[in-house]
Symmetry: C2
Subunit: 483 residues, 2 copies
C-alpha cells in the first residue's frame, strides 16, 4: 500500500474530473469543462477499453456523466442499443447509479429501498435522508447550514453511504471467483451536509484543522479569486457559526465512509478476494469548507485541488512500497493506464495522456516522471463570469504545479503564483511580484509544452502509422516525384 | 471581387487543409493531422451545417476525406443510412466524387465516361489520362518527370479538368432558380504532372518564375527542413532537367483550369445566376516545384503555405471592394463562417474557429483582425521522422505568421524565423539568431494564446449556458451553501 502525497485532480469539479478519471485524458482534451457539459461521443471510456478486454466495469454510485445526446440524435443511436446504453452511462455496467447530489427522484431503487425499510413518505430522501427534526418534530432541511448539526432522520444503516456499501458488497459476493472491476463511488461527504447519528456529533470544532485564511488574502485579491469569495455559498462560509457546524459534521461523514470501507475490505476477505484485488482510493476533488474564504471547490488552492490517493496492490511485487509514501506529482489521468496495465489490457497510448502508476507501486524506477501537474477550470457557468463581465470563451484558468511553485494562468487576468515551500498555506500570491518573473515564465512555458502534448487525434491508433506507410501508400500505385 | 494577398492554408497538405475548410476548425482541433488520418465523428461539417439550414452542399471533385470508420463500427452506424452516407462523404451530397491523385479504379463514372468516348482500355486513366506516347507508340507514364513534357494521350475535352467542369455545369443548369451550393474541386494542377495538348507545351522555361533557392540555405540547415530536402521527390527536383520539364507543364495545367473556369462563369451567366452566386476561389496548398530544394508541400515557406484566394460577391454591398486587394492575414478556417453568413444560416460560434470575411468583402471595418495566421503540419508519416529518429508524438511544427515575421515552432528542434520584409524569399533563417530573440518570443507567446483559444468543447452550444444557469440548476432543487 502506497499513499501519494501530491496527487492532483485534473479539474476541481465533479463532472470534468470524473470525465478525466474515466477517459485518462485532461479536461482540455475531453472538452467536458463543467458539470452540465456533455462528454463528446468521440471519447473512449475505461468501461469501453476494459469491455474490449473481456472485463465489464460495474458502477455503484455517482458518475456525474452527461452524455452527448445531440450526437446520439445526429447518428440515430438509440437508447435501447448497447452503444446507446454505454454512452448514456459513461461506459459502465450499472449496478446502481446514484448521483445523490440532487433528489434521486421517486423511481430510484434507493427510494424504493427506503420505503421498504418503513420510511413512509412521498419523498423519503428529502424527508429522512437529508432532513433533521426540530424541537416540535418539524422537518429541518439539511440543505441549510443552520440545520446540519442535527442527526439526519434516516438511521445510519439506511443512509446513503450504508446503502451504496450494501450494494457493493452484494456485487462482490455474487462474483465468486470471476474477475471483476467495481467503481464504488460514494456521494458522501458532500452537501447536503447532514449526517446520521452517531456521526452527526462525533466531532467538535476542537477536532477540526484550523481554518486556513487571512484578512490579507482579500486585500488586492486576484479578480477571479475575489469573485469566487463573493459567491453566495462562499459568503455563507465566512460566518464562524457555519464553520463551527459544518466542519465537524463533514468529519463525521468522512469517518462514516471510513467505517463502511472497513465493511468492504471485510467482505473482500470473506470472499477470499483481498489477495487478488487492487484497490485505488481517491476523490474527484476536495472542499474548501471556508478555507481561503471559499466554499466548495473549482479554484486551485491545495484544499480544493490536491486529492487523496491510496493504492493497495496485493501482488508481492508491490511489497517494496507497502506502508510508504510517494511524493511524485500524480494526476487523475494516471488511473486509467494504471488499471489497464494491472489487468494486462492493451493500453491505447494514442488516447491516454496519463502515466501508469504501476512502476511506482512496485518501487521500480520509471525514470523522470513529470515537470508539472496540471489542473483546469472553466467558470463560464458561474456568477464570477457575470460579475467580472468576462467573455464566456475566456473564463479559463490553468494550474501548473511544479516541484516548489504553483502557477495559475488566467485568461484576461494576471497570473497567480504560490511558493509551496515558504508558504504552504498559499496565503501570499506572488503572481505579480517582479522578483518571481523567472519562476512564472518557466511554469508558463511548461504549460504551453503540456498543451502541445495533448492527444487530439483520436481516430488512428499509433501502430497504424506503420500500416499506412508500408501498405496503403505503396498499394495506391502512387509515384511521387520520380524521374 | 476582392483578391487576398495573405491567405494561409490551415495545413499545407490536402487532407488536413480540407478538413479545416469543411469544419471551419484548425488541424489541431479537428485532429485529422495527415492524409490518411480519419476525421473524428465528433466534427460537424459545412454540409451538415448547411443541410440543417435546408441547403445541401454538392460535391464535384476531390475532398480527400477519410471517415472515422472505427467510430461508425463502434456505434453501429451503417453505410446505408443517411448519417453513414454523410460521414463517409465529408457531409457532401455526391454529384461526382473524384479523388484523381490515385487511380480512380474501374468503377468510377469518369472511367465509364472515357470508355464511352472511345478510350478502349482496361485502365483508361492509366493509359490515356496520365500517359504520353513514345516515338514507337509505347506508353510513357506521366508519373515520371522525364515524360511530363509529352502531351497526355487523352484529348483535352475529355481530360480531368474538362470532365469535372462538364459535371459542374450540368449541375448548375439542372438547378434552375433553386438555391444551391457547389464544391467544384478540381484535382489539377497536381501530380501526375502531365497535360493534354495544347497545354502540354503552351509555356516554356522562360515563362516561369525563377526557382527560389540558394546554396546557402542548405548550409547549417534546420534539421526538419534538411530532412525534407533529402526526401526522394525533393531530390528529383534538385535536377535542372526536372525543373525545366515540370514547371512549364504545371503552368499549362493552371492555364487549362483558368480556361475551364471561364466556361463555368459563362454557364452561370447563361443560367441567369451570375448575379446571385458567390464564388470563392482557393486551393488547399501550393507546390514547391523545386523552390527551396523541395517538392510538394508540408513545410512553411510561402510557396507551400500561402494560397490563392479570390472572392466574387455579386451583391451591391460588395461594390466597394470590387477589383481591390486585401492584405489582412486570412486563414482557411475563415471560409465556413463566410459561407454561413452569406446564406443567412446560423453560425455555431462554439465550433467555428475562423472569422467571416463578409465585412472585408463589403469594405466594412470589422475591427482588429488577427495577430497571427497559423498553419500546422505533422510529419509522423514521412521519411523525415525516421531519418531524424523522432518520437512520433513530437513530429509537429506550427507556423505563426505575423505582420512582418514568420515564426516556426518545431517540437524537439530549434525554431525557425523569417523576416518577410527584408527577406521575402525566406532564404535566411533567423531561428537561432540572438538578435531576434524578442521577435521569436512574441510570436511564440501568440501561438500559445492561439492554442488556448481552440474550441474543444463541441457538445454544448454556447447559448445553452444561459439555459443551464437559469433553468437546470434551479430546477434541480439544489441549495448550495445557504444558511
Amino acid at each position: 500500500m502506497s499513499r501519494y502525497e501530491s496527487p492532483y485532480t485534473p479539474a476541481p469539479l465533479c463532472g470534468p474530473a470524473r470525465a478525466s478519471f474515466y477517459t485518462g485524458r485532461s479536461m482540455y482534451s475531453h472538452g467536458s469543462v463543467w458539470n452540465f457539459v456533455p462528454l463528446s461521443i468521440r471519447e473512449q471510456l475505461l468501461g469501453d477499453l476494459l469491455r474490449d478486454h473481456g472485463l465489464s466495469v460495474a458502477l455503484d454510485g455517482k458518475i456525474h456523466h452527461r452524455p452527448d445526446e445531440l450526437a446520439m440524435a445526429r447518428f440515430g443511436i438509440g437508447l435501447d442499443t448497447v452503444p446507446g446504453h454505454n454512452l448514456m452511462n459513461g461506459g459502465f455496467e450499472i449496478i446502481d447509479r446514484y448521483e445523490g447530489h440532487a433528489n434521486p427522484g421517486p423511481k430510484h431503487p434507493y427510494v424504493a429501498y427506503l420505503r421498504e425499510q418503513g420510511y413512509d413518505s412521498d419523498d423519503p430522501w428529502e424527508d429522512f435522508v437529508i432532513s433533521g427534526e426540530g424541537p416540535d418534530g418539524e422537518l429541518l432541511s439539511g440543505w441549510y447550514a443552520r440545520n446540519c448539526h442535527l442527526p439526519a432522520r434516516v438511521s445510519e444503516e439506511h443512509s446513503e453511504t450504508a446503502y451504496t456499501t450494501d450494494v457493493g458488497i452484494k456485487f462482490i459476493r455474487e462474483q465468486g471467483d470471476n474477475p471483476w472491476f467495481l467503481h464504488l463511488s460514494y456521494i458522501k461527504p458532500h452537501w447536503p451536509y447532514i449526517a446520521p447519528a452517531p456521526y452527526h456529533d462525533m466531532y467538535g470544532v476542537e477536532d477540526c484543522l484550523p481554518v486556513v485564511r487571512s484578512a490579507e488574502e482579500l486585500k488586492n485579491a486576484h479578480p477571479v479569486f475575489k469573485a469566487f469569495t463573493d459567491h453566495v455559498d462562499s459568503r455563507t462560509f465566512h460566518r464562524d457559526d457555519v464553520l463551527d457546524i459544518v466542519r465537524p459534521v463533514y468529519m463525521g461523514l468522512v469517518k462514516q465512509l471510513d467505517d463502511h470501507l472497513g465493511r468492504v475490505f471485510q467482505a473482500l476477505e470473506e470472499a477470499g478476494r483481498i489477495d487478488d484485488t487492487l484497490i485505488l482510493f481517491t476523490s474527484d476533488h476536495h472542499d474548501y469548507l471556508g478555507d481561503h474564504w471559499l466554499d466548495e471547490k473549482e479554484l486551485y488552492h491545495e484544499p480544493s485541488t490536491r486529492i487523496p490517493l491510496i493504492v493497495y496492490d496485493p501482488d508481492a511485487a508491490a511489497d517494496a512500497t507497502r506502508g510508504t509514501t510517494d511524493s511524485r506529482l500524480v494526476e487523475g489521468i494516471d488511473f486509467v493506464p494504471t488499471f489497464l496495465e494491472e489487468v494486462g489490457a492493451p493500453v491505447p497510448d494514442y488516447l491516454l495522456e496519463g502515466r501508469s502508476l504501476v512502476p511506482s507501486i512496485r518501487g521500480e524506477s520509471g525514470g523522470a516522471w513529470r515537470d508539472i501537474a496540471v489542473s483546469e477550470m472553466d467558470y463560464t457557468f458561474r456568477d464570477a463570469r457575470v460579475v467580472l463581465s468576462q467573455d464566456p470563451r475566456k473564463c479559463r484558468g490553468y494550474m501548473a504545479r511544479g516541484e516548489r511553485f504553483k502557477y495559475i494562468l488566467w485568461e484576461g487576468f494576471p497570473p497567480q503564483l504560490f511558493d509551496l515551500q515558504e508558504d504552504p498555506d498559499e496565503l501570499h500570491d506572488l503572481g505579480t511580484d517582479t522578483d518571481y518573473a523567472t519562476e512564472r515564465a518557466e511554469l508558463h512555458e511548461h504549460l504551453f509544452t503540456w498543451m502541445r502534448n495533448r492527444k487530439l487525434t483520436v481516430t488512428l491508433p499509433r501502430e497504424d502509422i506503420v500500416l499506412v506507410r508500408e501498405t496503403i501508400l505503396p498499394r495506391a500505385g502512387i509515384h511521387i516525384g520520380e524521374w
